[in-house]
């Protein structure tokens, strides 16, 4: 019998290291699975937050990715399929002091859990959502998911999936998401940066992480991670900086009205000054960024953006509720049970 590992009571977060956030449970993903890197990066982030482990909760649904909480030496719930956002919402509304994380997969979040995700996003609770997108159902052994590309042959789509996939970031923006970003397992440094941003954002942070399922959908993100291609297919966004990509940043993106197009900086026609300058707060342009990618596997097409696509400050749901609670106490005072039970009209039998 092994016991659940608990953080040594004497350490406060300041002294902790990534390994202190690893639980004693054996990590059981397939060798080579992208989930490992993400776990490592999350564990690396934890000490930076300066939040004591007992004030952190990881909530997950069901899926390979959703096993995540078992491996974190914090509080954790491995819930039911698709419902992590709902569980996390109840937790965060009632415990705004906690740092709450949702770990979910493309099936968990966007198939069965689609409704909860979009409602979480519009409500804007301060919850960090890590969506491990491997464009497949891993745990159930290889059926297509709502992010699988049309035509993907899987166990349930022997002649190719006919489903037009979701664009998770467009969906999140359409659902009034206040923080929308994309990372990949194969670029751990950038992932680490985005995890930090995710955590820093006050409100629902939606971080899509491209995650390779080596067994059932290997190399789905090859175009963005393979050395040979990634320069021309991946665009790294930086706030206030022009949109540049390609080997030696030879290309940029400019806007012709509302239409983005590639500007070849070598040609002499365009310089960096002509380029679209990324503004994380511009919701209209955020839409363009989420939809930029549709053809990007083909040469000469627009690249796929990674980084923070949109970040908006707006009140969190739990704050608005806390405000109402405070106002309620101010207005009525601490509830008087006797008065409440008595109500408006009574009579007495003697």
């Amino acid at each position: 019998m092994s016991t659940q590992k608990t953080v040594n009571g004497t350490k406060t977060n300041g002294n902790l290291q990534a390994k202190d956030f690893a639980s004693d449970q054996e990590v059981r993903w397939c060798p080579g699975c992208g989930d490992y890197t993400i776990l490592k990066q999350v564990q690396t982030l934890m000490p930076k937050m300066g939040v004591d482990p007992e004030n952190i909760v990881f909530v997950a649904g069901i899926g390979c990715s959703s096993r995540f909480p078992y491996y974190m030496n914090t509080y954790g719930i491995h819930g039911i399929h698709g419902r992590a956002p709902a569980i996390a919402t109840g937790l965060k509304v009632s415990r705004p002091d906690l740092s709450v994380w949702v770990v979910t997969g493309d099936g968990d979040a966007l198939s069965i859990g689609g409704n909860h995700i979009i409602h979480l996003l519009r409500r804007n609770l301060d919850i960090n959502v890590l969506l491990f997108n491997n464009e497949i159902y891993g745990l159930t052994k290889g059926q297509y998911s709502p992010t699988s590309p049309q035509g993907l042959v899987t166990k349930t789509s022997p002649s190719g999936s006919v489903d037009n996939p979701f664009n998770p970031l467009s969906l999140a923006l359409g659902a009034n998401g206040s923080f929308i970003a994309r990372a990949m397992d194969r670029d751990p440094k950038h992932l680490q940066y985005l995890l930090e941003r995710t955590w820093q954002h006050k409100g629902t942070s939606f971080l899509e992480i491209y995650q390779n399922c080596i067994v059932f959908n290997d190399n789905a993100f090859g175009p963005y991670t393979d050395k040979s291609m990634r320069d021309s297919t991946s665009l790294y966004l930086e706030d206030g900086k022009p949109l540049l990509f390609g080997k030696d940043e030879a290309f940029g993106i400019r806007l012709d009205g509302c239409r983005p197009e590639i500007a070849d900086l070598a040609g002499g026609k365009w310089s960096q000054d002509d380029l679209w300058i990324h503004d994380e707060k511009d919701r209209n342009k955020a839409w363009l960024l989420t939809t930029l990618f549709d053809d990007n596997t083909q040469a000469g097409k627009l690249p796929r953006p990674f980084g923070v696509i949109y970040a908006e400050d707006r009140p969190t749901y739990e704050q608005l509720i806390q405000d109402q609670i405070t106002a309620s106490f101010e207005r009525y005072g601490e509830g008087n049970l006797e008065n409440l039970l008595t109500g408006e009209e009574t009579w007495t039998v003697k």
Binding site: Q4, T10, I77, A86, H116, I325, G335, L340, K350
Partner: protein
């Protein structure tokens, strides 16, 4: 003509009119006055299924029934003595509830040609004359005309004047039942504090109705109903849903636990969410979720965080929660699931009542997922039962299913205010955070106490970090375990934990009769009043029948089996197809008989009494 004053032991009145006629208000005012007069009483509103059906149609009729007396009253009454109808449709919809020879007070202005046709009477039908011919006593009043007459000096527009018609009628009834007007007058002053002219008009209409009844000698008899021998105390009128709201506030106060309600509106449960949403200053947070699954999910999340998580719904919504209730049985966190049952299956008859979710409560989940089940027998009983449900959930770390139904959710009865100090304490099994001491033993989230209850380790508690989930867990450590023997053991423990609750609930007592004999009637839930009335009437006729009414359904009280075995026969009346009777038959192998009806309405005392007589004779 002289007027006879008659003493009555009990009376049932049914008010009926168009949704716009203020029937519910009239009814509740009559109720208040009756309560203040010391009668025991029971009421039931009968809303139309539509929000606002076209005026004047049968679908748009709103009803309110009150049964009051100088003896103990348990139901709103099967049939009424007096039927007040504001229009033809109201008569059409309600004549079937009037006792033979009963009194009809009819607003003749509601029986014009158009009214008759809207009510779908044939063109040549004369319902009032027909009623007289059938032996009913019909008192005809042109209420509209009389009210306009009464208020013509007020200068109010006719539309506003017509809105006082119900007060005119109420005045008539107050005279008929020898009631004082002052409580309603006070009420009107309060209600229309900002519109004194409206208050005045209503009060005048009320007074004039009263005077009209004296002056016109339309009645040959006048009634009075003495005060009932009621337990001493301070009372208020309460509906079942309101009682649940109050109980939850009481739990928050007494347990010092924050309460979190995650819910999604559904008839007839919505009023609980609505009521609690205004009680933030009692430590109750409400969350209107996007659906029932999110509602229970959020409640589970809140329970993990150290709140008492509650979720409320009705049958179809509870069905959606099944999977998450299963999760809660594995997590072993406190959770209260309130099911205000309605007539099913599927959407069924959403505004009607039924008790047909009992088997769902017992068995409606995948796998062996034991929950506790408890039920309320009347509007007022909802308070104590809800309190009990919360206590059990917290102290036994288990989901508790609380069953009420549309009938007690909307029905009202006098409720004796509880003494707050005497409410049972509620004692959460919180695990203490680990300090820096050497001797801290490792934290075992699934180490159970003598009652098999695991500790509640709340985020924020240092040293208790742990992970829980729906996969089978290893005994004590709570780690995932695929071990066959462990699964057997944990399955048994979860079940056993539920059974052990029996040690923390009272033994079953008798509501009527002796502890052995010919026939035992066993009830649960909202049928209490009907059964109580039927059994007590049968006993008055000398029949050897006893009655127990179960509040705790799973586990049952420890003495239940003994009680059952002391009778020759057992009858279980239910508003379903015999669900409790199935459970009892399985459990005790006794030839239990089921008396059941699914008509969307309470059981009638008459029918039930017949069945009792039959069984006592047989």
């Amino acid at each position: 003509m002289s007027i006879t004053e008659k003493q009555k032991k009990e009376v049932t009145i049914r008010f009926a009119g168009d949704s716009g006629d203020g029937i519910q208000l009239t009814g509740s005012q009559f109720t208040s006055t009756t309560a203040l007069s010391g009668n025991d009483l029971s009421t039931f509103p009968d809303y139309p299924a539509e929000i606002r059906a076209p005026a004047g149609t049968v679908a748009g009729v709103s009803g309110f029934q009150i049964h009051f007396g100088s003896r103990a009253i348990y139901t709103p009454g099967d049939m009424c003595d007096v039927l007040v109808v504001m229009n033809a449709a109201a008569l059409k919809a309600n004549l079937k509830f009037l006792k033979p020879g009963g009194i009809i007070i009819a607003n003749t202005d509601g029986f014009g040609k158009k009214d008759l046709s809207l009510a779908k009477y044939a063109p040549d039908e004369t319902p009032i004359e027909d009623a007289k011919a059938s032996g009913y006593i019909v008192i005809e009043i042109d209420v509209t005309k009389m009210t306009r007459e009464s208020l013509k000096e007020t200068g109010l527009p006719v539309k506003a004047i017509d809105r006082s018609k119900n007060m005119f009628v109420l005045g008539v009834l107050y005279w008929l039942f020898s009631r004082p007007l002052d409580s309603t007058i006070q009420f009107l002053k309060r209600k229309f504090a900002k519109k004194p002219e409206i208050a005045e008009a209503n009060i005048k209409a009320l007074n004039d109705g009263f005077t009209y009844a004296i002056a016109t000698e339309i009645f040959s008899e006048r009634y009075s109903v003495d005060a009932a021998p009621i337990e001493k105390g301070t009372y208020r009128n309460i509906t079942g849903n309101d009682a649940i709201v109050l109980a939850i506030a009481a739990v928050a106060k007494k347990s010092n636990l924050p309460v979190f309600l995650g819910s999604y509106p559904i008839t007839p449960a919505s009023e609980i969410l609505q009521g609690l949403s205004g009680l933030k200053h009692f430590g109750v947070t409400t969350f209107q979720a996007e659906d029932e699954i999110a509602a229970i999910g959020s409640a589970i999340g809140a329970s993990f965080g150290g709140s008492l998580g509650i979720t409320t719904s009705s049958g179809p919504g509870i069905a959606l929660k099944s999977e998450a209730i299963g999760l809660a049985t594995m997590l072993e966190l406190p959770l209260v699931v309130v099911n205000v049952q309605r007539a099913g299956p599927s959407t069924g008859l959403p505004t009607k009542t039924e008790q047909s979710d009992l088997l769902q409560a017992f068995y409606g989940r995948a796998g062996e997922a034991p929950v506790a089940v408890i039920s309320a027998s009347s509007p007022a009983d909802c308070f104590e039962v809800t309190y009990e449900a919360c206590r059990i959930a917290v102290e036994h770390m288990i989901p508790v299913m609380l069953l009420t139904d549309g009938y007690i959710a909307n029905g009202a009865e006098p409720w004796k205010l509880p003494e707050i100090d005497k409410l049972k304490p509620i004692d959460p099994r919180f695990e203490k955070p680990r300090g820096n001491g050497q001797d801290d033993h490792p934290f075992l989230p699934y180490k159970r106490d003598d009652n098999l209850v695991r500790p509640w380790a709340v985020p924020g508690s240092k040293g208790l970090e742990h992970r829980i989930g729906g996969l089978e867990k290893e005994h004590e450590t709570g780690n995932i375990s695929y071990d066959p023997d462990n699964h057997q053991r944990m399955t048994e423990m979860r079940e056993q934990k539920r059974e052990l609750i029996a040690n923390f609930i009272p033994d079953q007592n008798f509501d009527e009769g002796n502890d052995k004999g010919k026939l035992l009637v066993v009830g649960w839930g909202s049928t209490y009043g009907s059964i109580k009335s039927a059994v007590s009437e049968a006993r008055e006729e000398g029949l050897d029948v006893s009655f127990i009414h179960l509040r705790y359904l799973n586990p049952f009280p420890r003495n239940l089996e003994n009680i059952l075995r002391n009778f020759e026969k057992v009858l279980v009346p239910e508003i379903n197809r015999g669900q409790l009777s199935r459970i009892l038959r399985d459990r005790y192998l006794l030839p239990i008989e089921s008396f059941n009806r699914v008509r969307g309405t309470p059981l009638t005392v008459t029918e039930l009494k017949e069945k009792i007589s039959e069984m006592c004779a047989g």
